[in-house]
Symmetry: D4
Subunit: 252 residues, 8 copies
């Protein structure tokens, strides 16, 4: 609770501040001090879960400095997305546990938390060329405390490869489907699954794939119920959404 409001009210009570002066003071208080505190409480990830740093537009030095502050403040897991190798190099040299996955450019400082949640998150891709997005999604979900199952290379043109994994599909709590080119895998898995499916188009492909536009439109138009779509190549967004769904709880 904001001490400022309390102070103002105390001064009103003891008469050192008139009602009118108090009104004026209240009106110019920064909003976060009044009503947003609870927002922050809600937006914070559950205890023990990773903090996230978006590494793309920060210098290696900036990233190291942010990470250091967080570690010093007791953060147990810090996820750094779009982390360039040279910045990873710098973090490598810090005196904390650090893991770097070069394909997805994901870095994890500290330990991944023990998996929690309602079930496992399934991450499925059509081919090996989409792995850079798939790993961004999978590592995000893991760093936020989810058990992740990877089904890579289950493309539609060999439907039996998909169907051979029907049990994993049917058993998942949330599914992230990642596909470039035509994105049909999302429809196929969406048709088989009975849980929420998050589709991630990738910019992989050539010609009329138009840098992911083809897969994006295909996924938006999928007839499968219970599917929604995130931005092209946005593995992190899919992983985060999957985490939220996999950690749903009854609201009081």
């Amino acid at each position: 609770m904001s001490g400022q409001i309390e102070d103002i009210l105390q001064m009103v009570r003891d008469g050192s501040l008139s009602v009118e002066e108090a009104q004026n003071k209240l009106r110019v208080l920064p909003f976060q001090d009044i009503g947003f505190a609870k927002v922050d409480l809600h937006r914070k990830l559950r205890k023990g879960v990773a903090e996230v740093i978006y590494g793309a537009s920060k210098t290696p030095e900036q990233i190291r400095s942010i990470v250091k502050t967080m570690v010093d403040n007791g953060e147990k897991t810090i996820l750094v997305t779009r982390l360039k190798p040279e910045a990873a190099q710098l973090l490598q040299e810090g005196n904390f546990e650090f893991y770097y996955e070069p394909l997805s450019k994901m870095g994890i400082v500290g330990k991944k938390p023990e998996p929690s949640g309602l079930g496992y998150v399934l991450v499925a891709t059509a081919g090996t060329s989409d792995l850079y997005v798939a790993e961004e999604a999978a590592l995000t979900a893991e760093a936020l405390g989810n058990k992740v199952l990877r089904l890579y290379d289950v493309g539609v043109s060999g439907l039996q490869r998909t169907l051979a994994h029907l049990d994993e599909i049917v058993g998942a709590s949330v599914i992230i489907v990642i596909a470039g080119m035509e994105g049909a895998l999302a429809s196929v898995i969406g048709g088989l699954a009975s849980c929420p499916v998050i589709a991630v188009p990738t910019s992989v492909g050539y010609g009329a794939s138009f840098h992911g536009l083809s897969a994006l439109l295909s996924m938006l138009n999928s007839c499968a119920s219970g599917m929604s779509v995130v931005n092209i190549d946005n593995g992190f967004g899919a992983g985060y959404m999957a985490h939220m769904i996999n950690h749903m709880e009854a609201k009081r």
Copy 2:
């Protein structure tokens, strides 16, 4: 369990069918009889929850006939989407409870089920012109057994109208944000909420809204975490996805 397989196996057991003949029989069985049964079991909506009919490409007579069969088979709630007024007229005359919402062209046969799920689904729109999509989403969620809270007309250009409802936003289990034109409401609510947000772009607008493209791109690019997007005007898809998230359970 498929009786056909059982019969074949019985015949193998009692010798009336050779192993080789049984193999041949098994191989040509329709797939749904072998492995897909469990899929169907999983795909079925939970007991007491509505069946869904997509009304857009069916004649009034076809719809009435499907509805009648379902009612005769004991379905308690049937949701008909994109139901044209003339088809609604016909259903009106049937001997079952029927409700029609003309703006969203949604029809509900029978009673809406008692709300269940983890919490309530919040449906928010920027203005009254998006109501036709909002009601499609809201009625879908209600027909599938969710408590729905409607926040209509909370546009970004009057931010205080949005913030006045902060409690409803923060307290929701899932949020569906519906907006045409620039779609900024999704980002604003996505930034305030701590639950999964499903964004629905609408084709409402003029000029450079390009029939929903502007809102679609805006929502896909939103920086808010925990948001995903469905097709333009796809209120049903959002309502269905919200229902699935609001009914998440621990997987065994």
Copy 3:
């Protein structure tokens, strides 16, 4: 000033409310009652200036009812945009002054205010087919209290028609340029003028004009300094922006 806050503070002062209870009450007050009051004060148009109703998505009855309330509350000028003829008909029958311009579908209830502001707003079009947008812009600016000069049909293909009006162009306080097809008029006038220019692309045209896209891109790419662009066919937005610029005052 919100009476609610005053009441709370009074109760704190006379001891009928504890400081802690007051904090809780303040925290759940709708935001507009606390901090947004000043926003509203600023957002309100200057005294005597028109209120605006967006008529497109409202029924004739809704519009009449809103207008009636406003008139009863003493509003002197009310601007109704995108007002369909049948709604205009209904307003015509009210017991207040009413003017309807069918081309731009603009209605003005009450009297236009006396022109104020720094100078005049010039509204220029390339041809007669853009008039529906031009009049929306011109009437908006007039209803908000601006002197408006109309230069219609000064297309680029007859450059002398533009140049014959050089004095009006150079003398304007703000210029609104409205053009479909290629939108070159905006660049030409932007090059001649020394005041802010607001460009409005229109959806008028055929073939590769793509419903205003050609003019929009052309205007965004104009090399003329001091020009900015509003949405295709958005005459109201241009008129409003012009009004704000023409009424600039020194901030304390």
Copy 4:
């Protein structure tokens, strides 16, 4: 063989035409009389096969007159595409056998030929809303002398419905897959089939289907080998291509 060339050569032979004059005459002969005759012979459809009239840009009277001439010249089967009901009405009244399919707007004058070719053409659709294109393809193939198998409503979201027809898919000579929205059915069937697949995107859908663009891009990007694509809604083109493939013969 063109009589004109023979005449010229005869005149050269009997001296009534000089070599130089003959050269000049040959040079200005319409091309079709010299080298293109054989082209025409090749382009003609095999004997007994239907002639095709594109009905879209012709008046009912023009169509009747063309049909009448053809019938008088002994054509046994005439296919009329994009035939409006009023033109069909007129043909109905002619003294020849006539069949009209209103959904696909296809008319067939005379008898469909006995099916020939290497096997059957399979026409598969994802849903009933694509039938207008499917029937255009199916009737085209039938009118040109192919056995056609129709698999309508085998959408991807219910994969078992597709797989239940695996035998028909695997047994086909050519497959035409017709789908709007996301077009994933083409990829799925393309992955199962071992014959050439022709994909037809349809303009059916809403929102980000963009009048068939989504399905078109999806099909072009399909990873399935042995698939090619025709224009949006071009059922005739697919039927014609399928006919050509189903009637392949060894070239001498």
Copy 5:
């Protein structure tokens, strides 16, 4: 035939497995073991024909290892598409016959099979700048066992160059037309030919060719009957489709 099913049935017969247990076992068998075996038999290319490896997203080492395994397993011809020079270098050093065409980045391990099929495949291009795609198509068709005729540089702006090859065009079994920029060559050859034509747009060009979009749209809209289109730059897809058409056989 899958041994697993046979085993289960044997155990049912000899009573060591109950009917119910057998049902459960059958239901969880990977699908390929039940119904998909015949699919695989059909999908396999005819005996002696090349296997295909998509080289684009694989490391040189991965490619060499896959090739080695295939060679060891007795594959006679292996086609590697989109093979980067450094990977080709590595294959060069293997102890098997290897051919690399750097323009199209195609590698062929082993011997091209003797040409079979109904006739020859004609590959035609408008200019030398499309050769990289043309060779991908031509080498694919050759590696799969087709006789290929190359007509390079038969552009539309010099129509006589096209017509001079009328005999080759008319005599072909299948034609692949490859063109960037405006793609008119496809229409011209499509109008002359009496066999199926597969059009491949290329990304060659500048300005409003928009990386192949212009040629793609042009080809999709071609009025020539018997033409279909593959993805921009997809020479392999065209070559494969041509191979399938050139090897059509009567289905039993």
Copy 6:
């Protein structure tokens, strides 16, 4: 010559105006009175040639009134483009010669001038569905004093139909090629012709023709030299451009 300038100069000469006052007066004179007179002289069409009225955005009454004034002023030929039937009806009733072509919506008041110019303008179309644009081009050229040759229905898919008219193509002074769908006819004729070619894409077509975009891109990318393009459906613009080229003269 502007009387105003003469007056000022006279007053300078007789001393009733100072040099400085004259300078100020000259500076504010409308531009057309000073330097643009010669522009107008140049822009006027050659004597006896038609005036042009763009009929699309004018009421029938406005058009009749403009025509009447022109006729009274002695105009011999007046071309009215995009003239709606009801406006044509009104002109029909005037007491002057009037011709209306309903397909192209072109009206000609008075007599077409005798053809002049360097040669004839050839107007070629691929099919009968483009006639509405072709006639706009042809009648424009005729009304401006050009001999016009019409080659309708010379589509690329029947190349011999084009080649049969090689003499007319080679003999033309300017060629206007009109085509929708893929626009290949422009390339083919551009390759055969030795004169300037003006290509007009039309919005005729369906599917991926995207309202003329396909033909537009195709024509812009044509490899044929000596070709340029006007807006989709802009028959008038092509006819006017052709007229200018066909009436080229040596500049002094």
Copy 7:
């Protein structure tokens, strides 16, 4: 004032030039000497304000030479936009005051003028990745004589960060909002502000941001009144427009 006109008038006055000859001479004078002088006077920036050089398409040497001439002519402030580092290096070595901001590639020769105008220009960005555009806008406004307030990193996903600065937003004279991705910040600030807002989309982002298209469309469709948009990444244009609005004065 043009000496040429004066000379002509003097010659008319002293009789050495006839009125007719003077008319002819006047008619061929370059326009700028007659009527455009006043245009130039108006277009010039207010005294003491910076001159602007567009550095993108000029060599370092060209820029240095232009700067030198301007400095020699007494210009006090010269703004150079899109100045490459190597050109900045060269200017660094000149004997005049010089400041270079590498992120925005802006150079300022001489001293920034003392801020003037009606109030301050607020420059707000959603994140640090848009700074290169923000600084272009801010430095432009400063170099033209405006007080600038920078609000960087006030993104929508953390709405409280925006609202904490409500006073700066409400107190601004003009606001420039800079945002990539979804551009929602413009709508949010536009809804809070009561002054003109200029929105600048940036090309920052990935996937479906399509190089700024998403933010551009979003901003054009914003429902906030009093907002207009400049080209993607056009910080200079926004700064210049803001300067003009902040320096509005009553016209005579």
Copy 8:
């Protein structure tokens, strides 16, 4: 004249070839030998005029070899477009006159012909950044025998710069207008000129210029009569078209 036909006719005349055999021989003669000779005669550029080589897709060695052959065959002027510096280097070393313009990448072998034609070709650009296209157009026109006048940097934002050159504009035989960004210069000059205008959009610009699309659409939609457009950056096409128009002659 083709010797082959003469030989055949001679053999017919002297009886060594039957009429039927002659017919067969004639039918298979390559077309260029029969009817296309005259096409070639017409397509050839007028005597003494430059041959053109498209340098973009050829190696330096290929270009040198083609040039050498042409020079040996007596060609006086050879134009090489899109000639890379390394290829220019190689030509530099040949024993013939050679000129290379690096900005436009144009090379001219031999002497430019004396200017001929009806008048001069005016090449106008909006700014210096379009020079690479402008010089391609200008040098093409010069190499083909046209007098060229260059008006560079006459942008619309400083309209007086354009108008100062009114005489050159009005006096031109053909005008080529080259502009990127918004392309308004084409409309302005098109409105002033009385001769054919060829507009060339360039890919110069940033943001919403979309690599020339904005200028292309703008030019296609220009209201100025007598203007047509070539592909983005296609200076050669414009120069060639201008040459053809400037060399128009009366057809017999």
